[in-house]
Amino acid sequence: MIRVVLPQHLRTLAKDDGEVRLDVEGRATLGSVLDALETRYPMLRGTIRDHITQARRPFLRFFACEEDLSHERLDAPLPEAVVSGAEPLYIVGAIAGG
């Protein structure tokens, strides 16, 4: 079970105010977690990564275990602490704009 913490605006859009818990089949990667997230919350498709290119939106970051995973490959395995549910995957909005 993977825990995902969404930024506030995406929690509102998903109409789910809590931490998201996802079951991911097979090896958990950033890509498979995002696939599972968008399957449960279709309204989030396009808000985290581009519909077509799957590129991360520029003002979003992926953090876990005090590391920045934003530049990791989508098929790279997530840290064991995230896979086990001990630590959440954070999707974070940049400190930018107004």
Binding site: P7, Q8, H9, L10, T12, L13, E38, T39, R40, Y41, P42, M43, L44, R45, G46, T47, I48, H51, I52, R57, F59, L60, G93, A94, A96, G97
Partner: protein, 392 residues
Amino acid sequence: MSSVRVLVGTRKGAFVLTSDGKRKQWEVSGPHFAGWEIYHLKGSLVDPNRVYASQSSGWFGQVIQRSDDGGKTWEAPGGGVTMTPGGMPSGESNRFVYDASPETGKPLTTHQWYDGTQRPWEFKRVWHLEPSLTEPETVYAGVEDAALFRSTDGAKTWHELAGLRGHGTGPKWQPGAGGMCLHTILIDPKDPKRIFIAISAAGAFRTDDGGKSWKPINRGLKSQYIPDPDAEVGHCVHRIALHPSRPNVLFMQKHWDVLRSDDAGDSWHEVSGNLPTDFGFAIDVHAHEPETVYVVPIKSDSEHYPPDGKLRVYRSRTGGNEWEALTNGLPQSDCYVNVLRDAMAVDSLESCGVYFGTTGGQVYFSGDAGNNWSPIVRDLPAVMSVEVQTLR
């Protein structure tokens, strides 16, 4: 009993202002979609409870929202937990994908960038939503980078009307300061296959076959900021308006100049007349008097505020050229707000109501066609759009 519903899009959410037909007391609801930029909301004429909203953010991109109860509750159409027959989630309502060339599979065309180089189209956001005048499930979206999309399933899925970008002038289009946006969509109420659109900075275009083919309609426009001032395309048209009873007559607020066409855009002539400045964004037509037109003059393209610090709506009762300042109830000193292109609207009650919103967060209202004004609200976030539904 008549009533009005004013749909206000702001930099930080949407607001719905409602009143009975007297328009004396107002109820304010919102912010809806708090913290998001709401470029535009608009209700359907066929089903007034159906309202569409464009919600966007620099962080999270574009989301389309829809209400079926007049703006009380909202959903992202197709964004619920519904599955297609193939078992895939169907959250497609925020997916705007440009058509590619059928021959090559590559982008249909490119456009000019600020430095003169060519760039492919890249979707940014929806500027304007225009519900069909006859079909409640059909709605058009004007987007940045400039293109026109249509949904025929209540905004669940979108498809580009690619004949607009594909007709050949795309490489000459270029972004204005606000981006390369398709911001105006006018459907001819007498002929739904005729649609007018406008793009900054490309100009105005018309289709007569429901969006399959398009042609530029910019003859008569003169723009000193492009190499050929009367070029076929390249003009920064800010807004077009028409009266439903006479859709061949169009009024245009260009970057500079207010213009009029009496032949559905085939030719234009300037009607700026005695305006203190002919720069501006908003333009609209009285609900019952097709020759009565409203603009809000703005000082210049580098000073986006009213001349002399006086917020004045100008009204022409002669279809242009002769303009009178309307000032009663509007600030006449130290006022430096802007009124954006989609931020003016009229209701169709017996005494025509005129509404406009400012970047200072005020929404002003006149219940007597502009003679007297008062604010409905004073302290919203910067107002980006104002639309009015007259409910009977």
